[in-house]
Subunit: 282 residues, 4 copies
């Protein structure tokens, strides 16, 4: 596919928004390949995603004129060229299944990003990082060194020009200060069907409650534990035959899929957050 | 919810289609509650569905002006007021689960239609028809009387002003002549995951092939058996423990859900056919 | 199918349990049609379900001899003839979809029971009860009359010889005294993926949390609200397009299926409770 | 978990089979951790899987005595010690997602096997083989050299003592002669919901038929193309928005999961074939 641009908009709802945006794009000769919009009538909000071919399109001039229109309509907006691949850092501890999955997908062209750095409080992921040619940062974290470790992490992320942080079963809780540096730009996977089984050891909790389905949830990280905007969820059926270790094993496949979908959608600029929820354009 | 109008469009794709439609709606002051479009790049086709509030909207004037625009852009289009509930005839034989389901959903307000008539080649459905206050037509069909029976059916459908025919496990094959009278307006449910197990006794065929999932498919009826545009499909897991009668039992729930979803979407003017496929706007 | 017997056992796990039961059945010439067992190694418990043909089988003599063996092995056990259809009372308020579903399934032979009585605090279900030939008890409930109403309900259930109470979206909470009369014999459907969204208005809570799947749960009723042993759960995908009313509509189909499956399994003597969990033999 | 043994039986159904097997195991003091059986009443066949702890169990003596019993009851049977990890060869072409998945699962302990060799008609998989320390055999295949290539493959498999061949998107059809060497010991993944879309390019065929779900199927390879006993199937929902390349992308995740589940079940001795179907004990 040739290169495309994506415009993401959220603003107070009012009549004529689609007409305004579509007419401007038409005036610039945009060849729209996909457009979608959504209204939250209760909240009075309008959301839109448009994608068009960049071939022969004057993005700079369009951007300038759109900026004026957007200001008049109180729009929040982002304008991305899909060829500008975001830079992603993956945080991981000792469970490597999500990391393996993300690295292979990126290599296979499923994730539109580069992955310049992997950060871990353990060294288990180092061979994988080396195999995929990614810099590996081993930054141990203990209760006493957490602040210092986070400062080091932030410094290295900043130096690497990171746009998105992915917590691929990273078993440390990030401080509110860290989270504030990457608003709606840290994606975590929690191994339960949120809001059920918030916190530690959700598979054990699910086992003891005797549920018949277990789940996994990918979400943006906010200061409140496991409470950020949900991006994707999935479940898998279990039975009385499944012990905790079976839940853990079955859960891994869901963790991989809900995390990788969330990351792919973020990278394709399909997600808008509002309040504590997400709009995910398909 | 107050009354809304729905505009459904399909036409050759070209630049500016969204801008044209959105601008005209804006000029008439439309308060859009939902809009969606789709392009099939391979086929060069554009599809659109827009829904807006009718409160204070001059539908007749808009329709007239839209007609001119549509002609210039080679559009096929439909303009519906959602308060004009289509009239549905349900055809059924001896399995009543889909009929029960549709009648209750209609009564509960889930299906935006009236159901003036039930047609059957058996009498099993008569008490249900009476309970729900629907006229019941018992029209027996044998090999020799099929043509005559269809003529009677068509006469009664015409008299009842039927817009949509739903085959709710009706165990007779309609002739091409009948089908031609209701193009893309006859919905059938086939008890397999089409195109697997076309024709008679699909649960038996699935059992003997040893599949691990069974399916059901709702589709528009065309002259070719079980080959019309697919509207909805679903599957359910089975195991070696399930005998043919278990497949039949598990399949029933899918038949109900894929059929009722197809009917609901048709009634909400969410479906466009092209070639042998459907666009289903959500 | 000819008539069968079902033996359900739970007891402390020890070697030779299967051999003992299977050998005794063999000695009586049982033609086993299905057998399944389960061990909870953590709890040290053994569970078993055996079903065999009753044709020419001396159930009384077997039962007597088995009783002696069971006493020696500290077994809890139930011995049922599948031709003894349990008697079920359905409690309902104003949402009738689960009731319609259960009544039709019973009539179609999917539920191995009789339904002699429907109990409601409203009169909406009365026509359906009449159509299916079921006695309808209208027992209004208010805060002041709850105890009196429950006494009336219990009196009528007892008089009707009820074995199982099904709460088919009955919007009243039963008192612990009521629940105590029917231990593991009251099945409820809760319209969330428990333990998420316990209590009232779970669809509203799910909407505001922004989950991407909604669920429904059938469970045995205990004194603790929405905390009894879970029998079955299911989920359905939603998106940002779905408003609360869409969740309610999509949820209905799950409510029907998780409730009807739970009732069917109970009636087929497939469920054993232990602690706050269930074994469901398939 | 400590080491266990698995006994897999299939034979003509008759009374007393469970009693005989369970009693013999009891006599040898077996601590059964899982047992399951199944009868196909139509075919008159009995299937059983028992797993017990080997700690202090005399497997050789039991095996000898069981052999005598089995002969008298016309049993086919297999007796495995779970600590004897089967040796698996993976065949792959240029799509590597299934290979990556299987290699990581084996390394993480999810697959109870060793993987001594990867066979490919291309060289794309060589770096992965090296990373995971697996021998890589590059055996190009053309129309003219197929027979010669298969002879080389068979020689190398034999030399490596291979128990199971996994076709992880291997884009060559194996000859009946090859298949005959590994009866019910070659597992393939086909990227459709069999029996729909047999043969080449199933995603393209699914796209043109306009299905609403696409599937993947893992099965034992027989001489008839895509017609062997099905082990596992799964589906994923698609919409009119999905182009062929989207189907391919969404399909990959299913291919991985249905293939890895099939391989895991085979390695845990959970699968019995009969006719063209499988019993999969869970």
């Amino acid at each position: 596919m040739s290169d495309t641009a994506v415009l993401l908009i959220d603003c107070p709802d009012r009549k004529g928004l689609v007409a305004s945006v579509a007419s401007l794009l038409y005036r610039y000769g945009a060849n729209i390949v996909h457009a979608d919009q959504h209204q939250d009538h209760e909240a009075g909000l309008f959301f839109m995603r448009v994608e068009w071919a960049l071939d022969g399109f004057d993005l700079a001039a369009f951007g300038a004129e759109f900026q004026t229109m957007a200001a008049g309509l109180s729009m929040h907006w982002q304008l991305h060229s899909m060829s500008d691949a975001p830079r992603v850092a993956i945080f991981v501890s000792q469970y490597l299944h999500c990391l393996v999955d993300l690295l292979h997908r990126q290599q296979a062209g499923e994730l539109l990003c580069s992955i310049p750095v992997i950060v871990s409080n353990h060294t288990d992921a180092e061979p994988l990082a080396r195999f995929y040619g990614v810099e590996f940062l081993h930054i141990p974290v203990s209760r006493d060194t957490r602040q210092q470790a986070e400062e080091e992490q932030l410094r290295r992320l900043s130096k690497a020009g990171i746009d998105l942080v992915v917590l691929a079963r990273y078993m440390q809780i990030l401080s509110p200060e860290f989270v504030r540096q990457y608003p709606a730009r840290i994606i975590n996977v929690h191994h339960s069907f949120l809001p059920a089984f918030i916190g530690a050891r959700p598979y054990h909790a699910a086992f003891h409650r005797g549920v018949k389905l277990i789940g996994a949830t990918s979400h943006y990280v906010t200061a409140a534990l496991d409470d950020g905007p949900i991006i994707e969820q999935d479940v898998v059926r279990i039975s009385h035959r499944d012990q905790v270790e079976d839940l853990i094993k079955k859960g891994r496949d869901m963790e991989k899929s809900v995390l990788s979908r969330a990351v792919a959608w973020h990278l394709e600029h399909r997600i808008l957050c509002y309040g504590n929820k997400t709009v995910v354009f398909d």
